[in-house]
Structure formats: C-alpha cells, structure tokens
Amino acid sequence: MNMVQAINNALEIKLREDPTVVLYGEDAGFEGGVFRVTEGLQEKFGEQRVFDSPLAESGIVGTAVGMAIAGLRPIVELQFCGFVYPAFNQIISHAARIHNRSRGKFKTPMVIRFPYGGGINALEHHSESMEAMFGHIPGLKVIIPSTPHDAKGMLIAAIESDDTVMFMEPKRIYRAIKQEVSEEKYSIPIGKAKVLTAGDDITVVAYGAMIREVQKAMVMAKSKNISVELIDLRSIYPIDKETIIKSVQKTGRLMIVTEEPKSFGVAAEITAIANEEAFLYLEAPVKRVAGFDTIVPLPATEHFYLITPEKIFYELEKTVKF
C-alpha cells in the first residue's frame, strides 16, 4: 500500500467497527477527497457517516466538537494545511479545551486530518508546515507519519484517542512510498518516536517527508564514514524526550531536519530539550536544518526552499566535524 491507501484502510476499519465514527469535509464524501484519500468510503458506509460539508473550515471543526460532545468520534478532513487557519478558534478554544472546561464531563475524541508540506508544485497556501503552532497549544496532540505502515497504525490510535488529535499527512510522500501493510487492525501509540537506523556519530531527528530526504543524505554520509542515528519523531506533541535524549547521550551530536519555517519551530523545541536533558553530552551545537523564515515559494522557485539531501549532508558533515 501507499500512504493514501493505508490511511483509507485505517478509516475503513474504524468506520466498520465503530458506528460512532463519522467522516466529513470539503469534497471528502462523494468524490473521496481531492487526494482521493477517502475514496469509496461513502459508498461503503452511506451518506450519513461519510459526507461532504459546506465550504467552511470553522464550521467543519466546530460541528465536530459538538458531535464529539454528543458521543460520536468525528474525523474531519481539511483540504490543506494552509486552510486550517479559519478553524483555529474552534481548534484552540474548543477542540483543545472542552475536556478541561467541563472538568472531564465532556471530551472531544476527534481527529483533524490534513495534508501538509511542500514539494508538490502547488499553489500558494498549499505547501505549509505548521506543526509547531499546534504543538504549542495545550490540549492538542499532534502526530505525523512517515510511512504507509505508520500512517495506518497512528491514524487508528488517533481515532481511538479520547483527546483531539491533529493528524498531519505529508502529502509529498502520499504515493511515493509503497510498503507491505497488513490489512488487519493494529495501532501505534501516540507519543513514541522510533529509531529507524542506529548510528554513532550523530543523531538526526526528522519526521514526515523529511525522513526520506535524510535517508538519501545518509547514503552520502556513509561514503564519508559518518554513522548516523536516525529518529523518526512521529509525534510532535507529546514529544518523546526519552528516545531523543538516549540517542544524544550516545552520539553527542544532534541535528533536526524539518520543513517548517525555522524560527519558533519544532527544531527549536528539540534543541531546548537536548539542552535541558543532555547538556553535558553535547559535543557540538545542535543544528537546525529547517525552512527559511519566508513564505514557501511557488513551484518555479520552490527548489530553493526545499530541503535537499545535499543540504542535509552539508550540515551533517559540518556538525560532525565541529
């Protein structure tokens, strides 16, 4: 399966086994979504459970909050990360807070899914990576898969979570990676990072579409005898400090690769964590390889903005040599 199929499969499993699960969004019903992630689900589960909504993101998230309060488990699709902003008030003021506000009387078991990230030659607002903003909001959980296998297991965990989960889909690799994925139900716990490759010289933390880019850079690194320990963060919040710290204690060096704007991003948080918990182990400054603090350019210029394996290797080598 590719990631689109794996997500579709996870949605199907949960829609089948749990009658409280509903799924909706702009074009998410009849057509199956602009990326065809929900294709076929309306046919299988009917218009009452899988449906199109009017074009209004605050409306989509706000109604989902209500459904969740009333005992459903809504999954909503927002069309692109750049179109989540109209829903911010509902996300921050309600989806993230009803449980706290009602002192546990009501909860909001809901999933807000949306594709994010650059590299697909898209229009303006279609390439954003805003995970740090969500990570900063008390009450939200924020997760990002990097493989079809993880996408399925993490989405199932998200749907089963009693907290609101932002499930961000790295659309650049929606169809780029194929993998054996079991048709059975399984879930991958929220909040656990995964060491993808063990190594000695430096720890690299990345997630989503950046994993593949780091892996390409690792081929170059290998030829220079640099041994990289690669961690797939998977969960932006809660963040798996333990896995990161353990690795940094071993390698003494840390680099973070993210496609978000650099300032005030996830990479800064991870740097702060390493600093707080592994200060005495750090042999070089933690390196942030991230997007520029600019708007993601349109396709003709985006190649300057995208983080390439060369760029990763370039910074990797410098950090290892520090």
Binding site: G59, G62, K107
Partner: protein
C-alpha cells in the same frame, strides 16, 4: 406562525402588552395557571439571584459577572420548554436557562468565583459549559444536532447567542450547516440591543436579526423577548417544527440588557436615561406580574414573601460556593488531556518540588 410574522416585513410576535393585557389571543399559549405561576416564580428567582450576584461581586466576593437583569422571560420560557432529554448550548449570560436546565446556583457562583469546577454542571446531563468566545458555541449545537439525527433520537438542541454574536463568521457557518443538514436546533438570539457598548445599529444594517434566517433557507421569527407568553409560544411552535424533522429555526428575542455588560462595565457611558426608561416599561417581570395580578394569581405580599425566601436560598447557595474546598495544583493539570502526557506529569512534579522548597523557606 412563521408566515404570519414575516421577518422581512419586520413583524413581531407579541402576546401581552406592557400592561400585561392580552393583545393576541391566537398565540396565547394554553397554560394552566400553575404553570404560569411557576414560570413567574422561576423568573423572579433568577432576578433575585442575579441582583445578589452583582452585589456579591461588588463586595469583592466574586470575579467579573455578566448580569441578566431584564432578560428573564427568554430563559424563563426556555426553561419551561426544554425537557431533560434536550440539550442546552449556552453563551455566558444565561443564568435563568442554566437554572431551568437544573444547574445549581452553587455551581454558577463557584464558576464566577473563578473555579472551573462550577462550569461542569455535573448534576445536569445535557448542559454544556458556558462558552466565552462569542458565537463559537453555535457550531457545537449543530454538531450535537447531527449526532441526534444520526442516532434517530428525539432530542432538541437549544442554543443561545447575543445580537453582537450575529456578526461573527461562526454564526453564519452554524446556521448554514444546520439548514443544509436539517438538524433539530433552535437558535435563540438574545437581541438585548448592545454588544458591550456597541448598539445594534452599528452591528448590522439588516432590519432585524430574524430576517437573517432567509440567508439559510430556514424559518425565522422576531419575538418580543420581554413577553413570556410570546417567547413560550414561539419556542413551542419551533420545537414542534424541529421535532417533525423540518430542520432548524432562528428566533430573535427582542429584549434589553438593563444592567451593565459585566460588573466591570459602566453603561451610563454609552446610553441615555431616556433609552433606559423607554425599555424599562417593557420589563418582563413587571408585565407578567401585572398579568398575574389581573387574574388574581399573585399579591404584593406573596411576592415579597417569595423574594425573602429566594434571598435566603441564594445566600445559602453562595455560602456553599464560598465553603467549597480551595483548588489544588492537580486542578491545573488534571483535565488538559484525557490521557495525560508524561511531560506534563513531570511539569507538575517539578512544580510540587518548588512549592516544597518555598514552604521550607518560611
């Protein structure tokens, strides 16, 4: 009813006049005397509690509080219409409706004394906590309506918002979703003429609020919100409409916020005595009182006795709230997540360490 009171022609449903005289027999609800008396008593209780809340706040025993003075008929009617199975999705100025839904005054006071525990209304099933971001709660009502419809249940969702709230995008999205999905939601706009200091005329250029229903293809009706019978009648008709699966209704309840916006506000800055006097004549309790007196269902002495009794009850509830155990650190951390992240537990533990250290310094 919706045709008769076409909001595009700015018609308004009114059943009794300012003197408590019946002026519209057709829409006078069929209520037993005891029902009317009970409604009056509920409204009176709400007014007593509200007035006392303001004075507790003045005494520094409560934080900011939004007075309900003058808006009692709306929640009074709501209270008599809602059943236990119905949902109430309130804003923040709904004292009477909370009470009607079964919330305790103790909880309400607790909340305005700055303890979120009061907002849980633990003893009431289908009552949402108060929502502060204006108009945002309307979408929750629509989502609840969707769940009801999906499960083929019979509940109705009542949700309330102010005139200022009609300007927010969420008002629009909520009404639009509700009408497209045909969910059993009754939107009540408490048009109390002001959003803090901003008068209705600066809020919108439409002839009234009810006409906004046309934008969504749902019925809308403007009602004298200071007329208990008119409110009851409109809610009753709307409830039947919604429960027949015909979809949502928008009710504009014309009223006046006689008090301040909140206890931190001074309305004399932005409105005149004449205006206040004009609206004073429409007071919902006075009107219903006159109606009851004409029917010899209440006397001044009876009312006085009631008020004294209510005052004691309110004071008792306030005491309960005052004697509520103080909050602890755990209250900060316990509810941000259902499944609490490890890191948050560590933040709590570290703060406990600090508190111990601080204690030790003394």
């Amino acid at each position: 009813m919706f045709k008769e009171f076409n909001p595009a022609e700015d018609k308004i449903l009114r059943v009794i006049d300012n003197e408590g005289q019946l002026i519209n027999k057709k829409w006078m609800p069929q209520l037993a005397d005891e029902q009317i008396q009970k409604a009056y008593n509920d409204m009176l209780f709400a007014r007593v509690a509200d007035t006392m809340a303001v004075s507790y706040q003045r005494q520094g025993r409560m934080f900011t509080y939004p007075p309900n003075l003058g808006q009692e008929a709306i929640s009074g009617a709501l209270g008599n219409i809602m059943t236990e199975e119905d949902w109430l999705v309130p804003a923040f100025r709904e004292l009477g409706a909370w009470l009607a839904k079964g919330a305790t005054l103790k909880d309400i006071f607790l909340y305005f004394k700055g303890n979120e525990e009061g907002n849980a209304f633990r003893n009431v099933k289908k009552l949402l906590p108060m929502a502060v971001p204006i108009a945002s709660q309307l979408l929750h009502a629509v989502g609840i309506g969707y769940a009801i419809k999906l499960r083929n249940e019979k509940d109705i969702v009542y949700t309330v918002v102010g005139d200022g709230g009609t300007s927010e995008g969420d008002f629009h999205e909520a009404l639009n979703f509700a009408a497209v999905w045909k969910v059993p939601v009754i939107f009540v706009v408490q048009n109390n003429q002001f959003a803090i200091s901003v008068p209705f005329s600066k809020q919108t250029a439409s002839v009234n609020v009810a006409v906004k229903s046309l934008a969504y293809g749902m019925p809308g009706i403007k009602v004298d919100g200071n007329d208990y019978f008119a409110m009851y009648s409109a809610l009753d008709y709307s409830r039947n409409y919604a429960s027949e699966g015909k979809g949502p209704v928008l009710i504009e309840a014309l009223t006046y916020r006689k008090g301040a916006h909140t206890t931190s506000d001074d309305p004399t800055k932005y409105r005149t005595k004449e205006e206040e006097d004009f609206w004073g004549l429409t007071d919902p309790l006075t009107r219903l009182n006159k109606f009851l007196k004409a029917k010899k269902l209440i006397t001044d002495t009876e009312e006085q006795t009631l008020i004294e009794q209510y005052k004691k009850e309110v004071d008792r509830s306030f005491e309960e709230a005052e004697n509520y155990p103080p909050t602890v650190l755990d209250d900060v951390f316990k509810y941000t997540y259902v499944d609490i992240p490890e890191d948050l537990k560590i933040q709590q533990m570290e703060h406990e360490k600090f508190l111990k250290w601080k204690e030790a310094q003394k």
